[in-house]
Symmetry: D2
Subunit: 340 residues, 4 copies
């Protein structure tokens, strides 16, 4: 199977290249970037020198890529809006597309327009494009050829919450989420706010109260809860390269034991979700560089709340690792192939 990474100039693209170059079942056959076309990948991603050989960035346009017989699966590491320009012809050509942008994450075109500030670029594809966190999504999605890979914050939120909402163990209303992301969450963005001296020794909130990922979080929580879920989502930047630490406060319906038995049932056979004992806190350090999510919870008898904490690597379980996990599951490879 031959894979292509489209728009590989950012950090998610780099992680895709790293993972696919080592993948036992896949050949990384093309890496594209409009701005880097013709350059050796090893020059742009010196950390991957030992993996990429002489591979160069190519500058294929969507139609050309769709016409290539030698490419089977396409990972889109592109900005929202741009991703659709590729997804559409590739989909028509019968290719498999795993899209890491926001273009196919929302079922509602109204929400897309509200949160992303432009009309949805490819509404006709939405029905065909399942949104998939593999631990939560069942089996049907594997028949799709266009798959929406979830956002980083939303993954850190849904893995602990969705099973609990489905089981009715927490109240769907009044959920408060605080998330802290490493700076790579902003991608390889060259702006004053992201230079070293501005982010080092700095912690701050941003994008409150209506960060784009809120739309994705709420849509998915509501599907699980079968009711409205209006959440407070507070994203922050933390002085580290990678990792998301999320802390969620929810009203308890069931007991802490219910939380754990629900999680154990949901994740017992899932290689990438670790349920930590109550009182042990997920630490971004221990998931960085892995495709794992660590989750944990405490109960506060004073407030009758659960405080739920999770940690993921924003570039792996929050983006490229999850994308490769989707590939593995869709094509029947080992779920962990290329990911440990």
């Amino acid at each position: 199977m031959n894979a292509a990474v489209i728009g590989a100039s950012g950090y998610s693209g780099e992680e895709l290249v790293r993972l696919l170059a080592r993948h036992p079942n896949v050949t990384l056959a093309a890496v594209t970037s409009r701005s880097l076309a013709g350059k050796p990948v090893a020059d742009v991603m010196p950390g991957l020198r030992h993996l990429v050989g002489d591979l160069e960035f190519s500058n294929s346009d969507p139609a050309e890529l769709a016409a290539r017989d030698d490419l089977d699966v396409f990972f889109l590491a592109l900005p929202h809006g741009v991703a659709s320009e590729y997804a559409d012809p590739l989909f028509q050509a019968g290719k498999t597309i795993i899209d890491l942008s926001a273009d196919f994450r929302l079922g509602s075109t109204a929400a897309y327009e509200d949160y992303y500030g432009q009309p949805h670029p490819a509404p006709h594809l939405l029905q065909a494009a399942p949104y998939v966190i593999p631990e939560l999504a069942g089996e049907k999605w594997k028949r799709a050829s266009l798959i929406a890979c979830p956002g980083c914050y939303p993954t850190s939120v849904q893995l602990p919450l969705i099973p609990l909402l489905k089981a009715g163990i927490i109240k769907p209303s009044g959920i408060v989420i605080n998330s802290y992301s490493g700076v790579s969450g902003a991608g390889r963005k060259v702006a004053e706010d992201f230079i070293y001296c501005e982010r080092n020794e700095s912690m701050k909130g941003y994008g409150m109260p209506k960060h784009r990922h809120l739309s994705e979080i709420e849509e998915q929580l509501e599907k699980a809860a079968f009711t409205d879920c209006i959440v407070q989502f507070n994203p922050h930047l933390a002085p580290m390269s990678r990792g998301i630490s999320t802390t969620i406060v929810t009203k308890a319906i069931g007991s802490l034991q219910d939380v754990y038995s629900t999680w154990d049932a949901a994740y017992a056979d899932k290689p990438f979700v670790s349920v930590l004992p109550s009182g042990t806190y997920p630490d971004t350090k221990y998931v960085a560089g892995t495709n794992r999510a660590d989750i944990s919870a405490v109960y506060d008898p004073r407030t009758k709340n659960f405080v739920i904490t999770s940690a993921i690597d924003n570039l792996l379980k929050g983006a490229s690792g999850q994308a490769v996990q989707l590939l593995n599951l869709k094509f029947g490879f080992e779920e962990t192939a290329g990911l440990v």
Copy 2:
């Protein structure tokens, strides 16, 4: 006026030494530490070489210190429990004591025992020891000779919340607080969890749901609200040396304009509290090394919550800076003396 820092071996003690050595109205006359007695301060705190000259750590016991005529004011940078061993004889001797420990922060001895795991060591002094965040405490406390300096997390919480609770602009119930502290919050603690490689690139929660500072936060919020305030307080460790970033979710009663007019009234003439425009987020980087607190708020019409953010330097406005501010105000010095 001659000042002494008692128990100066930790980071708060070091900041006190720095501030007092530069203070225009105070002479730093003694610096004590049981473990460091006899050592030059400059050897233990090389960053202060230019400030401390030949000063050495002394090892005075409480009674000896109380008997010294040449010392007027004592800053206690000691663990809880130990602080009382000094506060008692110093108080009896008529000295001024600014205590940075938890010993006199709580009015309730039951809460002290519950949260600190031992009976209160000096209950007879509690009445005499006001708890003072200077921007919130009025004038009466200046007559006291034993003053409780608030904790770091509680300061970051109370500065934004107390005026709003007093004005009835937020609901006292259901408050959710997430705080992220730089590693110096743990003091100069030598333990595996605090070595560089364990904390670098790491973010995690700890001490949930009943961190010691919760008792202090709730007691003070309840005083302001004249009703119960059961809050959810989630402390975390962040990979930086200094700073606390706090994000608070509260139910709105008044409008965002009410929040800002209340804050403006409370802090217009306060040199150390900056009210930032809604949408500008306090950043620990911009308060590090200062005695300032930055606060800001947004309103979320979807949830009818305010999301309030604050940032302080945990060692300054959260400890030693506030202690010196207390000194300044009590003795009629410029409020900012030695602090800018």
Copy 3:
């Protein structure tokens, strides 16, 4: 005395604003920046909110500034080449100018052209502009009205070496210098190489073997040694915001005792140079935020070399702090005024 900071948008400019706003003998009367004119300084430098009040950036051109009667001393925090455009009219108008650029650091216009890639922009001013590290420069320079403030790396090199070269204790040939700078050494440069994720957890050399500061280092060492000094200078970037750590290997002529007695004689009464005992290593952490230089040396009997180490804060003793120290000395203020 009224001071102006010209070109204050970078990190050195920010430090100048911080230092001058607190200076007991100086009023910070103007802060200029072409790109930021009209903006409140507090918005651009939020860390200085408590110091700058309502001050705004102004956009004066050189002639206008030279014509202002209310401004006495000008700090130029401008790129090389641009600085001369201001220095010339200000000098003609009889103002005092402390220039932090490279324009007046080199006596040789040929070296300037060689290292900076353009003809010297104001050769007629060179004779009038002394190059001054205050601990090394004697008294005559105080009569000058245009003063060249040395570079950061060169300051970290000259403070330990110049007295030893003058005393003939080290060989002038074969000196090897390795320097490691915090990222603020690149200023507030917005480029991919300086975004957080590129510099975090990264250490690398750059600019070898002919970094611009080499010209300044060699010219000054040669003046002290009265002979050629061809040195190997290896600059590097280190993952921290501030600080320069320099390690120098030189052939010994005298003994280690000679090194220390020479340093002690040179620096005994200098408040900003600390001579550390052999075996104690200067640490950037302990000079960060100060105008101090720490220096130390060991002797290696196997190689007959001295290994000399120094540490400074690149933005303070390496730039803005030293500039204010120059102001203090020129105008007869306390040498440490505004600097402790």
Copy 4:
């Protein structure tokens, strides 16, 4: 093939566990630690949760381990001195031992005693124990059953220098080496000097002029040069978790082209050494997490020196990665097995 990691409580041990748990040709059958015996490995190394399953630390003594039939190869991640207590009985029992300590790195027992402060603990084994950087060591060593894995600093020095010394392209005398190590170089040492706030934003030298690794460096350089090599070696600590950045100044004999053609010949078919073009600088960021060494050089016509720079991950190519590479080569596995 069944492998055991002896003394796995430190960072090198953790990396060995990570690498061996993923190794395609090896089963990680035992992980021992006196202090951690009985604890699940996943609890002590939470970052490896997904790799180690239910494996527990065992507390076997040397004799017991030597008697176990189910263990074939032993990695000793022990302090010097202690390693010999295991190496001796394991060697007698015919096991394969890859020792990461210093015990078998030096051929000279006198040097061992001089640098490590104690008589050599197992001089009778020295002849049998080759010192092996695999890219430099030929083939004979593969017959040995006790192999000395080189130190981190020495690896970063020898990879660039040994081929040049052998080819006579650089002068063996007067070499100056500056190395900067991430804090994990000190292992999981719990001491005040290694807590986060002491190392963050800090750069400093240490252990000059006679660091323990100097003995190893000089012995190996002398073997390659067939003459004395008295080098100046300056180790430093840098504020990052992993990585060694080394900068070497040597007198040129040949040309820069000679340097590159020699390196190309030595490393063309070596998967873990990348020769970077002159003017491109090895960056610890790009080798962190890999077993790679990046090397580069510039020539300075003014000094007639080469300035050679290298970067490795101190825990991988500088320790555990190299150990696994040795295993691969000795047993005929792919050289990169388990290492990419």
